[in-house]
Every structure is written in C-alpha cells, then in structure tokens.
Amino acid sequence: MSCGDTKAGSCGGGCGCASKAGAGEALNLTGGSGVDAARRFFLKSASAFTTLALAPGVTLMAFAESTPASARPADQPVSSKNRWGLLIDAGKCADGCNDCVTACSTENGWASPVKHPATDAQWIRKLTVRDPKNGSSYSLPMMCQHCAEPPCVDVCPTGASFKRADGIVLVDRHICIGCRYCMMACPYKARSFVHEPLHDQKEHAPRGKGCVESCTMCVHRVDKGETPACVEACAKAGHNAMIFGDLNDPSSEIAKRVATYRTTRIRDDLGTDPGVYYQNI
C-alpha cells in the first residue's frame, strides 16, 4: 500500500496519510476534496435517525454524552485552535473493568486479550498502580498521552511519527521504516511494534508488519465529530471515568473540569505536555 492509494479503505486515518482519497473526508488531515455540506448533513442526519430507530434508550444516552466535538468540514484542515485531550478519573475507573481496552481493540482491530504480552500490540492497557509504603492502589487506562512536545516525534528520522495541529499524535505507516527509535523515546511505553504478519485489518486503522503503532485517539471518529471508542465504552459501562474533548475550548466539559479540579499528568516533570489528564491519582 502506498501513500495516496486510491483503493477504498486502503488509507485509514490511523496511518496518518495526508491524501485520503479512499477513506473519505473524515480522515482528511490537511483538507482535501470538498464534499457538499448539505449532502454531509443529510447523511449524518440519516445515520443518526437510523441509530435512534434501532437502538433507543441506552444508546441514545451514550450518543448524546459522547458528542462533545463537532465534525470538521472535509475541506478544512485540522486546526491548532483545537487541542483534543482526555480526562480520566481514576476514582471512577473500576478494578477489573477492561471495557475501554476491549472497545479500542474492537474498533482498531488489534487482538485483545493479548496472547503474547511481550510482543503483541496494546494500544491501551489497564495499569494497576500501588503505593508500596501503604498498600493503597488504583487502576487506570494508559495509552498514548498525545504530548504537545512528543519525544517520539522528535526522534523519528523520517517524520513518520507526527503530531497533528489539533494535538493528536500519529504514525504515518507509509513512511515508518520500523527503526523503533520512537519506542525507545516514549516515556509511557505507549507504542507497539507489529512483530507478525497481520490479517483482517480495519479499513480506518491500517496496520503493517514491521511498523510501529499506538493509540490514534480514534482520529477517524474524532474527525467525524465522535468520541474515541474507549470513552464511549466507559460511558456505556456506566463508569463515566473518561471524558474526551477540546482542551482549548473553555466551554468544553473537559476544559472546565481540568480548570476546576486538581488533575495530574503522568511524568509531567519531563515537560512533554501530555494531552491526557488524570484525576484522583
């Protein structure tokens, strides 16, 4: 598969390719061909109507809760006016609950539960953190922290690791040479190397043997105005431990909560300015 491949679905948002002829407007990172806004509105309304008709009740609630972002018009580039981020409340993150991990795996096509913990890809995992002095512990999901100053992007020799203007850090699978230097540089062990040949990939999340990958913050969903799969799953499970939104928008829930409550970012001391905030840790 080469960059700019026009086969439908051959270029997904997760790959980071800038020319998304096949995958549709929602995956366009830098702009692209114009799509009639009225048609888009019609399709969006129709899909929303169908969803409502088929899955009332819980789905309605989840859908309503998980739409803090609005779809970006396809003819507009990603803007630095947005800074997409996550707020994770460890106090609400249930021990033993793995719904966010399962949802990510299902959405993006990586295998979970993992068979080979050392070599299988894990875009998100549940961490148990324990204080050895007093025995207290908590669990939280850990994924790419979508840093504003990402070490993985700094060290990547080809620029395959890159940060979008809206803060989402991605790997362009077309120019990743598989050197793994980004994995050496990432302070969060957030990246995985594809050690084996892959089958049955998702159209929107192309993966490749010999390339590095990590959480894309479900960029293909975000560009459609939806929330990442993990956030949606957490809400569906009733935990509501994860909030997705625009940190740059003072009126967004995430920005309000980050401004109101004491939050922590993991290894904030390293100065990477992560886009993932944690509460109650």
């Binding site: 070599t119 148990t128 990547c156 080809t158 990743c176 302070p187 050690h195 590095v212």
Partner: protein
C-alpha cells in the same frame, strides 16, 4: 624520513583465502537470517515491545563506534604530525570505512521495513538525531574516501596541505559522528540508564579503544599473511601506550557516568539494577566491560612494558591479547548498555509499583535469538571482507621487513 612504500596482497596463504571464505559464508548465512526475520517478522527474534533494540543493534553500534576509532592512526599522522604513524594511515582509513559499512548494514537489515531505506534517505526530520546520523554516516564515507585519495593518489599525495586539510576535516567529522552515536542514547529523556550528556564522550573514548584494537589485530593478521614485520617495535610500544590511555579514558567516563547517577536518589534503583541486581547485565558490566575490557588489557599492557613482562611475553603478543580483550569488553559494554538500558522498566509513577498486561514495572526478558546473532556476525564479516578484498586490489599496506624464515 625514508620514502614509504606500499604493497597489495599478492602472495596469498591458505590463511588469507580461508578467512575470506569464512567471511563470505558468514555473510551468506547472515543474509539468510535476515530473510527469515523479515519473512516471519521480529516475532522470531528475542526482541519485544520493551527491548526493541536487540543483538543486531549491539553489533551495529559497536561496529559504528569502532569505525570512528579506526581512524585514530590516520588522524594521529595527519592532524598531529606523527610521521611514524603515516605508513598505517591508509589501512586506518580503509578499516574505518569497512567497519562503518558493516555496522550500517546490520542496522538497516534489522529495520522493520528495510525495503524503505530509500524513504530514510529522502525523507528527513531534522530534529531527529537519527537523521543527523544518516548525514554523519554517509558524510563519513565520503570524507574518508577523499582523505584516502589525498594519501593514495600520485598527484594529490604530493600536496601535504591537501592531506592535512582532509585529515583535519575527517578528524572533526569522526568526533561529530561518535557524538551523534552516543547521543542516540543520551537524548532519550525517559530512559534512566541512557539520559546523559556523558554518553557522547563515553562513546568517543570507547571508539578510540575499539578502533585501535581492530587496527592492531588487522595489522598483526597482515603481518602473518605477508610474513613481514609491518610495524616496528617502537610502533608496537606506541600502540601499547595508546591502548592503555584509551582504556583508562573509557574507565574514567564510565565511573563519572555511574557516580553522577548514584548521587541522584531518583536513579538509585536503576543504578542498582545495572551495578548489582541486573543478572546478565551486571555480569557483563563488571566482568565483561570493566574487568575483561578495561582492567585486564591495561594490566597486561603495563606489565608488558616492564622488564619481567618483556621476559614473559613479547609486546606484540601482549598487544594482541589486550586488543582481543578490549573488543570482548566492547561487546559486553554495548550489550549491558543497550539491552540493559531497555530491560530496566520505565518509571511511569516514581515511587509506586505498577503492573499491567503489557508487563509494566517488570524487568523485561530478552534472550538473543540465533538469527539476530547471525546478522550481527555478518556485519563483522562484511567489514572484514571489505578490508580483505581492498588489501588485495589496492596498496593499503606498508611494505615491512621480511621475517626470517
């Protein structure tokens, strides 16, 4: 000073052909290992999502570091005007190019997507030290080639200023190159056992040691092949002294690196891992790197300079043994540093214990697989094959005094 005459290898012994054949076979087997790893993916190696750089990187970085150091002799002759080193300057340059080629071959063939080498050569992120290194490595080839031209071309060699200029340029470039190689590790902010500006000078000192050790061993092998004393007793003594200085320099930077870390409480656990609790990494650090690679060569070489030492063994033999030990120590140093630094877990929550399905908080297991080792050995053989063939087709070696049969 008497005019220096150079020679090609022409009267070949079974040793020469045997070595060439052996290197060719090792390269072929190594390429087979590459095909196997690329076909199945890195799953067939010992590498994983924590130890992402394995044995091939140990060989590759070792060879690249040694390549820079192999230019020692040429630099001493051109930059520091030591004419006694001049006869070996050509071989020094050749060895530098060959070792770098071997190291880079391993590095490239271990990529997840080696067929995308052209991408790496055409698409750059200039903030990446890796990108700088691509320029530093390719530039090194070009500069040393020009340097060799100024030594070997009939016209250019008559112009000492040209040679001196090329020598200076190559000298500065090699320091930059090894600084770049050390900084590949030194720039990693989250890896406690790498993140240090001292990585650059440590690697430079190590390059001096390993590069000279390679030069000495190739020279002595060629003495056997040509049945000539290619270097005088004075030169043997000089090399002996240099090797001691370089070994002590590596020891110094190693001590400062770890003392600095030990002074900061935040690094104690990481230091205890490498110095005391790290199993194979601790063993390789103390026994391989410090004892075998630094202290024993130093002791042997110093003893060889004494009257009783001279009575016990020749300086040549002492130099040979010390060089072999230094190279063994070099591989140990690289293994303990590169693999050990990754095996030690990232500290996501300082002061806390973490666990996960991704093996967070655990020392990562790594065992070299056979294909990895074969690829690494192929890198050494690529370097040695280049040297062997070059010595046959061009006059890199000085003419020496025939040994008495």
């Amino acid at each position: 000073m008497a005019r220096i005459t150079f020679q090609k290898l022409d009267d070949h012994s079974p040793l020469f052909w045997g070595l060439l054949a052996m290197h060719a076979i090792v390269i072929a087997v190594g390429l087979g290992a590459v095909w196997y790893m690329e076909h199945h993916g890195h799953i067939v190696t010992g590498m994983n999502n924590a130890v992402v750089w394995g044995t091939p990187h140990v060989f590759a970085v070792f060879l690249i570091v040694a390549a820079s150091g192999a230019l020692n002799v040429a630099s001493i002759s051109s930059v520091f005007n030591r004419l006694a080193y001049k006869p070996f300057a050509r071989l020094s340059g050749l060895l530098a190019i060959a070792l770098l080629a071997g190291g880079l071959a391993v590095l490239v063939l271990d990529l997840g997507r080696p067929e995308r080498l052209t991408v790496a050569m055409t698409t750059y992120n200039f903030k990446s030290i890796f990108s700088w290194n691509i320029y530093l490595y390719t530039g090194f080839f070009a500069i040393v080639a020009v340097y060799l031209f100024t030594m070997m071309d009939r016209g250019a060699s008559k112009n000492p200023a040209l040679n001196k200029a090329a020598g200076w340029f190559a000298f500065v470039w090699r320091l930059a190159l090894t600084t770049g190689t050390g900084s590949i590790f030194g720039f990693l902010i989250a890896r406690e056992l790498y993140d240090s500006a001292l990585m650059a000078p440590l690697f430079i000192a190590a390059s001096f040691l390993y590069g000279l050790a390679f030069t000495v061993l190739v020279l002595f092998t060629m003495c056997r092949e040509t049945r000539q004393a290619l270097l005088s007793e004075e030169m043997v003594s000089s090399f002996r002294g240099l090797l001691v200085i370089f070994a002590l320099a590596v020891l110094y930077f190693t001590i400062v690196f770890h003392l600095t870390n030990l002074y900061a409480a935040e690094h104690w656990k990481a230091e205890m891992f490498i110095l005391r609790d790290g199993g194979i990494y601790t063993l390789l650090f103390w026994v391989g790197h410090i004892l075998v690679g630094l202290l024993m060569p130093t002791a042997i070489l110093l003893y060889a300079g004494t009257t009783s030492g001279k009575a016990m063994m020749s300086e040549r033999r002492a130099l040979t043994i010390a060089s072999v030990l230094a190279l063994i120590g070099g591989m140990s140093f690289m293994y303990a540093t590169i693999i050990g630094g990754q095996a030690y877990p990232l500290d996501l929550f300082p002061g806390k214990e973490v666990s996960s399905s991704f093996l967070d908080g655990q020392v990562s297991a790594y065992a070299p697989s056979l294909p990895e080792v074969l690829l690494g050995l192929a890198g050494v053989s690529i370097a040695m094959l280049i040297v062997g063939v070059a010595l046959k087709v061009m006059p890199f070696l000085p003419k020496g005094v025939e040994y008495d049969s």
